[in-house]
C-alpha cells in the first residue's frame, strides 16, 4: 500500500483526536507503519482540533503534509479551512450534520453522512465519531474493517467492556451505513 | 596532660579566611562540634552559599557542595530526596537566603523538606563589600544605602525566622546570636536541636544566627558585638519560633 495521509478535523470535543488515534492503532495492529500528529495547544482548548494520520507499508519519512490524500471533516470551519488543500482526486468525508454547505471541489470523491443524526437514531450519540470512522474504513479500506474489528480489544485496552461494546456497535453501524449509502 | 580544647574532627585544619572579629568562625566551630557530638560527620552533606562562607567546603571535614547564589535549599532538596537517611544542611547568609534565594527557602520550608538551614544574619552583604541586605536595619549605612536605609526607598528588613515559622512544614525554627558566651552556648544547643529534628525526620529546621561583620559595619570587633546587641536583637528577637 502506498503512503496515505488522512486529515481529521472538527471542533474540540467531537472526537477528532480519538478517532484518528483509533485509526493509528488499527493500522499498527494490521502491521503497517503509522504516525499520528495532533494540532496542540490553544487550538485544543475549545477551538478547532485537527490531526494528521500517515499510514504506509514502508518507513514514513514526513508525518506532515500540505496536501493530505483524504480529509475527514466534522464541521463547517474545518471544511472552509481544508477543502482547498486536499490532494487532486482525493477523498473528502463530510459530517453533514455540522456542515451547511456543499463542497466546491469537483475532482474529489465526496462521502457524506449526517453523523450526529445517525448516532441519535441508533441511540449512541457519544459514538458519532466511531460511526463515521466505521463508514470511512468500510468505503476506503485504508485499514481492513475485519482487521480493525479483530483488534478492538487491543485498541481499547484498559477501557470497560461496556465502552468497548458501545464503540464496536457504533463502528458497525457506520460500516452498514457505508454499505447502504456509499 | 589533659586535653581541654581541640579542633573538632568535623573541621579541617585549613585556617579560616574570615576577617578579624567575624563570627563565621565561631558558627563553623559550633556546627562542627554538633556534628561530632551527634556522631554525624560521616553521614553529613553540607551546602555552601555564595557569600563569605562560599569557601566553607574547605573547612568542614565532611562531604560538601557549593551552590549558586540562593539555591542551596533546592540543592539540599535534591540530595535529601535521594539520600533520606543522611544529614543534609545548608549554610547561608542573609543576601543568599533572604534575597536572591527567597523562593528556594520559602518553598523548601513549605514542603517540610527534611533539611537543616544554618542562616547567618549579619545585616549586610559581606563578600561583595558591604551592600544593603534584605536584613539591613532601617538607618543602617551600607555602600548601597549610603545615607542610611529608609523604609520609603528600600522597604523594611525581613524577619526570616518569623516568616518561615508560619509554614506548616517547618518543624524547628529558632533565632540566636553569637555576641556573648551565653548566646554562643544557646546557639550550639539550637543547632544540635535542629540536627536532631532532621534525624528524627520531623521536617524543615532552621537556626537564624545574628552575627557580626566588623569590616563592613566599620566597627572594631568589640564595638560590633555591642552594636549587634543594641540594634539587631531589639528588631530580631531571640528565641524559638517553632518547635515540634
Amino acid at each position: 500500500m502506498a503512503e496515505k495521509q488522512i486529515l481529521f478535523a472538527g471542533f474540540g470535543g467531537q472526537g477528532v483526536l480519538s478517532m484518528a488515534q483509533f485509526l493509528a492503532h488499527a493500522a499498527l495492529s494490521a502491521g503497517m507503519h503509522v504516525t499520528w500528529v495532533p494540532s496542540y495547544g490553544a487550538e485544543m482548548r475549545g477551538g478547532t482540533a485537527n490531526c494528521l494520520v500517515t499510514i504506509s507499508d514502508r518507513e514514513i519519512s514526513s508525518p506532515l503534509t500540505e496536501n493530505p490524500l483524504m480529509a475527514v471533516i466534522l464541521n463547517r470551519p474545518s471544511l472552509d479551512k481544508f477543502e482547498s488543500r486536499i490532494k487532486p482526486n482525493g477523498t473528502l468525508v463530510l459530517n453533514t450534520s455540522m456542515v451547511d454547505r456543499r463542497p466546491q471541489r469537483t475532482d474529489l470523491e465526496i462521502l457524506e453522512m449526517p453523523m450526529n443524526e445517525v448516532a441519535e437514531e441508533i441511540g449512541n450519540p457519544r459514538g458519532a465519531n466511531m460511526i463515521l470512522l466505521g463508514a470511512y474504513l468500510q468505503k476506503t479500506q485504508v485499514v481492513q474493517v475485519d482487521q480493525a474489528l479483530q483488534y478492538f480489544e487491543v485498541i481499547f485496552k484498559g477501557k470497560s467492556q461496556e465502552i468497548i461494546e458501545r464503540n464496536r456497535e457504533a463502528f458497525l453501524a457506520g460500516v452498514q451505513y457505508a454499505q447502504n449509502n456509499w | 596532660m589533659k586535653v581541654v580544647a581541640q579542633r573538632p574532627e568535623s573541621l579541617t585544619d585549613a585556617p579560616f579566611h574570615y576577617c578579624p572579629g567575624c563570627t563565621h568562625g565561631i558558627i563553623h566551630r559550633l556546627v562542627a562540634e554538633c556534628l561530632d557530638e551527634l556522631n554525624l560527620r560521616e553521614q553529613a552533606i553540607g551546602i555552601c552559599p555564595v557569600g563569605c562562607a562560599v569557601l566553607a567546603y574547605d573547612y568542614f571535614n565532611c562531604d560538601m557542595l557549593e551552590a549558586a547564589h540562593g539555591r542551596a535549599p533546592a540543592i539540599a532538596t535534591g540530595i535529601k530526596r535521594l539520600l533520606p537517611d543522611r544529614l543534609v544542611f545548608t549554610y547561608q547568609g542573609d543576601g543568599d537566603l533572604a534575597s536572591i534565594g527567597m523562593g528556594e527557602i520559602v518553598h523548601a520550608s513549605g514542603r517540610g523538606e527534611n533539611i537543616t538551614v544554618i542562616f547567618v544574619n549579619n545585616a549586610i552583604y559581606g563578600m561583595t563589600g558591604g551592600q544593603m541586605a534584605p536584613t539591613t536595619l532601617l538607618g543602617q549605612v551600607t555602600t548601597t544605602s549610603p545615607y542610611g536605609r529608609t523604609a520609603e526607598q528600600a522597604g523594611y528588613p525581613l524577619k526570616m525566622a518569623e516568616l518561615l515559622a508560619q509554614n506548616q512544614g517547618a518543624a524547628y525554627i529558632c533565632r540566636t546570636a553569637v555576641n556573648n558566651p551565653a548566646n554562643v552556648m544557646r546557639t550550639k544547643k539550637a543547632i544540635k536541636k535542629a540536627f536532631q529534628t532532621q534525624m528524627q525526620a520531623k521536617g524543615f529546621s532552621m537556626v537564624e544566627i545574628l552575627s557580626t561583620c566588623p569590616t563592613n559595619w566599620g566597627l572594631s570587633p568589640l564595638e560590633a558585638l555591642e552594636w549587634l546587641e543594641k540594634n539587631m536583637i531589639p528588631y530580631y528577637p531571640l528565641g524559638e519560633f517553632k518547635v515540634s
Binding site: 488515534q21 493509528a24 492503532h25 499498527l28 507503519h33 503509522v34 504516525t35 499520528w36 500528529v37 495532533p38 496542540y40 495547544g41 490553544a42 514514513i60 519519512s61 514526513s62 508525518p63 506532515l64 503534509t65 500540505e66 496536501n67 | 560527620r41 560521616e42 553521614q43 553529613a44 552533606i45 551546602i47 555552601c48 562560599v54 569557601l55 567546603y57 568542614f60 571535614n61 565532611c62 562531604d63 560538601m64 557542595l65 557549593e66 551552590a67 549558586a68 539555591r71 533546592a74 540543592i75 539540599a76 532538596t77 535534591g78 540530595i79 535529601k80 530526596r81 535521594l82 539520600l83 543522611r86 523562593g103 528556594e104 520559602v106 518553598h107
Partner: protein, 352 residues
C-alpha cells in the same frame, strides 16, 4: 518484537526510566508538561522521586543536588523555562555533574508561542549560560529516538561527566508512532566522586569556585580537553543520497524527516539532491558537511527558525560552497514547501 503506539514525550520519559533515572524535577510548561505528568504517575510507584519544583531555577538546582549523589536524574522544560535553567546548567557543566535536560521546544523570543520551533539552537549549542562550556545536544527525529536518545543521553552524561540535552520540536513530543520498548538498563557505572557522606573515605567536594587564576585556567583547559574528545568521538550525522548530489539539504530533528520527503520528491523530478541530518547538534558533525562540500555545489539549511544551524554549516564548509537558508517559525514547513525551495534553486542553477 511487538510495537506499541506512544507519544513522543511519553516515550522519552519511559526511556529515561528504563535508563535508571531515579529522580525528576520539573516545572509545568507547554509543550513539555506531559513528561512531568508521566513521571508523576510512574515514579512514586517505582520508589523513585518525582518533585514539582517551585521554579525552573529550583528544578535545575534540585537536579544539581540529586546528580551529586551519583544517581541518574533529569529535568524537562521548554524555551522560556530552559532560559531560566541556564544558571544551573553552567554550574552543572563546571561541576561535571552528569544529568539529562530536555527541551521540548517552542517558538520565541520572549514568551513566543507554544507551536514547535528549533529557535533554541544557539542557546543549546553555544552553552547557553555564562562561561566557556558546552553540553552534548541530541536531536531525535522520531518517537523511537525519543526513547533511545533518553537512554543514550544518560550513558553519554555518565561517561563524560557532562550535562546532556535532548532538544525536540514540540510536535515530536505530541506525535505518536509505534516503537519498540527497550530493555531496562541494570549495569550503571560507579561514581566515586559523589557526595554521599564520607563514611570510610575522605570527604568529596563538588564546587565551581576557583579563586586562583591559574587553577581557573587549568579547570577550563580540562573542560576544553574533554570537549575536544567529545567532538572527535561523538559527532554524528545521517546522510541520504549525498554521494551524487549537486544540492544537499540540511535539517535536524523531526524537520529532517520532512526534508527527506522533499528530497525524495525532488529526486522524482530529476534533481540530484541529498540530505544531511545532524543527529548531534553539539558536537556539530562538521565532517559530513566537509566531505559533501568536495562535490556539491550548494547547501540548503532548512530550519524552524530564522536561521541558526546555517551558521554552523557555513563555519564547517568555510566558504568553499554557498550555503542557503529556508526557515519558518510558528509552523513547520511542509515537504511540498521545501520541494518548491529545492526546485527554485534547481532553476537558478540551471539544473532544470
Amino acid at each position: 518484537m511487538t510495537k506499541v503506539l506512544m507519544k513522543g514525550n511519553e516515550a522519552l520519559a519511559e526511556g529515561a526510566l528504563l535508563a535508571g533515572c531515579r529522580a525528576f524535577f520539573g516545572y509545568p510548561i507547554t509543550p513539555s508538561s506531559e513528561i512531568a505528568e508521566y513521571m508523576a504517575r510512574k515514579m512514586p510507584k517505582m520508589g523513585r522521586t518525582f518533585l514539582q519544583a517551585e521554579s525552573e531555577l529550583a528544578a535545575i538546582n534540585m537536579v544539581y543536588g540529586a546528580a551529586a549523589t551519583g544517581n541518574r536524574v533529569m529535568t524537562a522544560s521548554s524555551g522560556p523555562g530552559i532560559s531560566l535553567k541556564q544558571e544551573g546548567i553552567s554550574f552543572l557543566a563546571e561541576a561535571e555533574l552528569p544529568s539529562l535536560i530536555v527541551n521540548i521546544s517552542r517558538g520565541g523570543p520572549g514568551l513566543g508561542g507554544i507551536q514547535p520551533a528549533q529557535s533554541d539552537y544557539f542557546q543549546a549549542t553555544r552553552g547557553g549560560g555564562h562561561g566557556d562550556y558546552h553540553i552534548i545536544v541530541l536531536a531525535p527525529s522520531g518517537v523511537q529516538e525519543m526513547m533511545d536518545f533518553a537512554m543514550q543521553g544518560f550513558d553519554l552524561a555518565d561517561h563524560y561527566r557532562i550535562p546532556v540535552m535532548i532538544m525536540a520540536e514540540g510536535t515530536l513530543g505530541q506525535m505518536m508512532e509505534p516503537i519498540i520498548v527497550r530493555e531496562p538498563v541494570t549495569d550503571l557505572p560507579p561514581k566515586p566522586w559523589a557526595t554521599t557522606g564520607c563514611k570510610g573515605r575522605k570527604p568529596n567536594i563538588i564546587n565551581t569556585l576557583h579563586l586562583s587564576p591559574e587553577f581557573l585556567e587549568e579547570r577550563n583547559l580540562h573542560l576544553q580537553h574533554k570537549y575536544k574528545l567529545i567532538q572527535e568521538r561523538e559527532a554524528k550525522a545521517e546522510t541520504f543520497m549525498v554521494e551524487d548530489a549537486d544540492l544537499v539539504v540540511a535539517a535536524f530533528g523531526l524537520m529532517s524527516r520532512i526534508a527527506k520527503r522533499a528530497v525524495m520528491d525532488a529526486r522524482q523530478k530529476g534533481i540530484k539532491v541529498g540530505l544531511i541530518r545532524p543527529v548531534t547538534l553539539w558536537p556539530f558533525p562538521e565532517k559530513a558537511f566537509q566531505e559533501a562540500a568536495e562535490h556539491v555545489s550548494k547547501f540548503l539549511s532548512v530550519e524552524i527558525s530564522m536561521g541558526q544551524m546555517v551558521e554552523d554549516i557555513r563555519l564547517a564548509v568555510n566558504g568553499r560552497v554557498p550555503v542557503e537558508f529556508y526557515g519558518r517559525i510558528g509552523l513547520i514547513p511542509n515537504p511540498e514547501e521545501i520541494t518548491r525551495q529545492i526546485m527554485k534553486i534547481a532553476q537558478q542553477e540551471g539544473w532544470v
